[in-house]
């Protein structure tokens, strides 16, 4: 039976490590270790239930082991700050006053589209609606909003970490050549663009690698 405890502990630690490496994109509203426990408990309870050849004690011992591990992690969290950082991770500041922090985004296996999606879920429809945006350790998005919203129109993503969205580029009235021309006037290349969004009023959020974001205005066909 001690074997079950050791094996459960190894699987727990491995899963926790993998979850931490996967970044905040894989967890939602839970601490990584809570997420791992949720994953394991269901499976541990099911196996002896479904397979009558496995003694039910195996399931009970595994679940009690999970309880002990949960309590241990929780107590370590409370008593030792560095352990909390290792086990639960730290908040990641992805939007600063200079714009999007690409390093932090990539560290958490996220891209600009994921960030925009999280912002929309939090009620912000433009990248410059907030001073600061961060992913908490549990994967939820928090922001320090600006007192005035920049606009009340939905923004389309034209470029996400150097990758163009041809459909949205066309929707904003650009063709391939005019878009390249636009980038040239901004003194950058496609691969160096961190993010470019345009809203229905022609308000452009433009950020290239290593530079502060800027707000531009262009003519867009129609108003969405």
């Amino acid at each position: 039976m001690a074997l079950v405890l050791v094996r459960t502990t190894i699987i727990f630690v491995t899963l926790l490590l993998v979850m931490r490496l996967m970044g905040k994109s894989q967890i939602g509203e839970m601490q990584p270790f809570e997420f791992v426990i949720t994953l394991l408990i269901a499976e541990l309870a099911c196996i002896p239930m479904a397979d009558s050849s496995i003694p039910i004690l195996y399931g009970i011992v595994s679940i009690v082991t999970i309880f002990i591990l949960h309590q241990t992690v929780w107590l370590l969290d409370l008593w030792f700050r560095p352990v909390k950082d290792v086990v639960c991770g730290k908040p990641s500041l992805v939007i600063t006053k200079d714009g999007i922090d690409v390093y932090q985004l990539k560290k958490n296996n996220l891209n600009v589209s994921d960030l925009i999606e999280s912002m929309r879920s939090a009620g912000y429809f433009n990248l410059d609606d907030v001073y600061y945006g961060l992913y908490e350790a549990n994967g939820s998005f928090s922001a320090l909003e600006k007192p005035e919203k920049s606009s009340y129109s939905l923004a389309l993503t034209l470029v996400d970490l150097g990758k163009p969205d041809r459909k949205n580029i066309a929707a904003c009235g650009f063709d391939g050549e005019s878009f390249n021309e636009f980038l040239k006037t901004q003194g950058t290349k496609m691969k160096d663009v961190v993010a470019m969004t345009v809203n229905g009023e022609g308000r452009v959020y433009f950020q290239s690698r290593g530079r502060k974001y800027k707000i531009l205005n262009i003519e867009v066909p129609g108003n969405w």
Binding site: M1, S53, I54, P55
Partner: protein
Amino acid sequence: MVKSIIYTLAAVALCIGFFIFSEWYVEKQFSEFSQALDSLYMKIEDKDANREDATAVRTMWNDRKAKLQIFLPHNDISYVDYWLSEACGLLYSDNFELALGKIEVLKEVVKNMPSAYGLRLENIF
């Protein structure tokens, strides 16, 4: 907080106690059964074993089996059942030489089974 720590320590103590007991209990059951198999083996070697000896070992195993199923996977237990039934069948028909081979296998299975569930590096991985 204090309550949580107490619960955790209680769970750890309970687990350790249970692990020690289960290891000891499984080891003891198999060791006793192994002794019975040894004496049956010697009787077969002397061509002295009879139906009653085989039935006695079988009854002994059946008593232990019910309790061991609490601690060990039932498929592994049925492995012992299989070899014991084969050996008993051969003894019932006085086929001592073949029965000897089956008991030999059974002795090996019974010897190795408790260690397959012990806390050893090879079992962990």
